[in-house]
Symmetry: C2
Subunit: 190 residues, 2 copies
DNA sequence: ACAGTTGCGTAACGGTTGTTATGTAATTGG
DNA sequence: CCAATTACATAACAACCGTTACGCAACTGT
């Protein structure tokens, strides 16, 4: 019944083209035709694997999530968890670019808005035990771990945005230094 | 020679329509026709006052800057300066929405990218003396004031984003509490 | 070998986009 | 009063958008 080609492999090709388009031009540049052109194929191929533009956008966000997860493998340490989201490598820079870019469309469309909110909640939930651990060894002051996780996530993402707009100023080394001195400043003395 | 209508007043009308469009739908929704429709006028009127779409985008960013400046009047205190950018009022929420939304197009277009970088640099420069003052009275630990300003700006903007996506969780009160406990945690216990 | 299914290029469709030209009414200075 | 200028609606324009339909080639199970 099924035809020759490896469906999943082809889908991954389209998927990769979607990523390249969004990584370079943001979500404003994501169109069926730009993906097709990036792939050197026709729009028919794109619609064959992704029925509509909504699904393309959805898929781009899933890709961002997958790549984020892949770039942050099983972290048990707060500093590492925060350092992992900073654009200190081309890979993470690309991912960050896509996330920040997605906020325009995510703020406009209620469904994507809810998705992004859920994503943030998951991130803070993942950060929470690391915060508690850091508190227990005296690396962080006492206080609501949720608020602390929010603050640290905020610090990290805010730094991401500044680094994206000013990569010359915020070299990888400088980003990590700022993170480290920030964490050091948060450590209660004794 | 000139005709009847008050040119500047009319221009402000168009300007207000531009703001309403961007505040509600983000930069993805900013088109000549959406502005005209918002104004109940024709596209001819819009192009009469703003020649091209580039200028419309540019103007929307200027508006955001103006409103930001207007909502942060002559701040001499670090906490107030940071609290002023948090979306704790409808007005600041609207402005924040526009800024975050603008990052998609700002990351894509080199000219807007440079503008946003400059804007961030100005903000940090304005924050710097407040940081130094806070350090001198023992509210902030010693260290590079530039790095501290970056970190505090990052914290604030990161909190802005989370609050925009989760206003139920981050009520104005909670935002300010998170800010205050964060600043308190940064105070060296000498 | 043939019927059925899949892969995907081609292309048409109606709608929207930014830009530009045209027309017309109203105002003003001489 | 008239020539010049401005304000703006109307609308044409080519380009582009997402979606859909069509058609053909290639493969598969029977």
């Amino acid at each position: 019944m099924p035809a020759k080609t490896d469906h999943d492999a082809r889908r991954r090709d389209v998927s990769a083209a979607v990523w390249r388009v969004v990584a370079e031009g943001g979500f404003g540049a994501l169109t069926l035709r730009s993906v097709a052109a990036e792939l050197g194929a026709s729009t028919g191929l794109v619609t064959h694997y992704f029925g509509s533009k909504q699904q393309l956008i959805r898929h781009a966000l899933e890709l961002a999530e997958d790549r984020t997860r892949a770039s942050i493998p099983e972290v048990t340490d707060l500093r590492t968890a925060l350092a992992a989201v900073l654009p200190t490598t081309p890979e993470v820079t690309e991912i960050s670019r896509v996330w920040v870019s997605s906020w325009d469309v995510a703020l406009a469309e209620p469904e994507l808005h809810a998705l992004e909110r859920a994503r943030y909640r998951r991130w803070r939930t993942r950060l929470r035990p690391l915060v508690i651990k850091a508190q227990s060894v005296g690396d962080l002051p006492p206080g609501d771990p949720g608020d602390l996780a929010t603050g640290l996530a905020a610090f990290a993402h805010g730094l991401v945005v500044q680094a994206l707009f000013d990569p010359t100023t915020y070299t990888p080394k400088r980003q990590l230094r700022i993170l480290d001195t920030h964490l050091a400043a948060l450590r209660p003395s004794d």
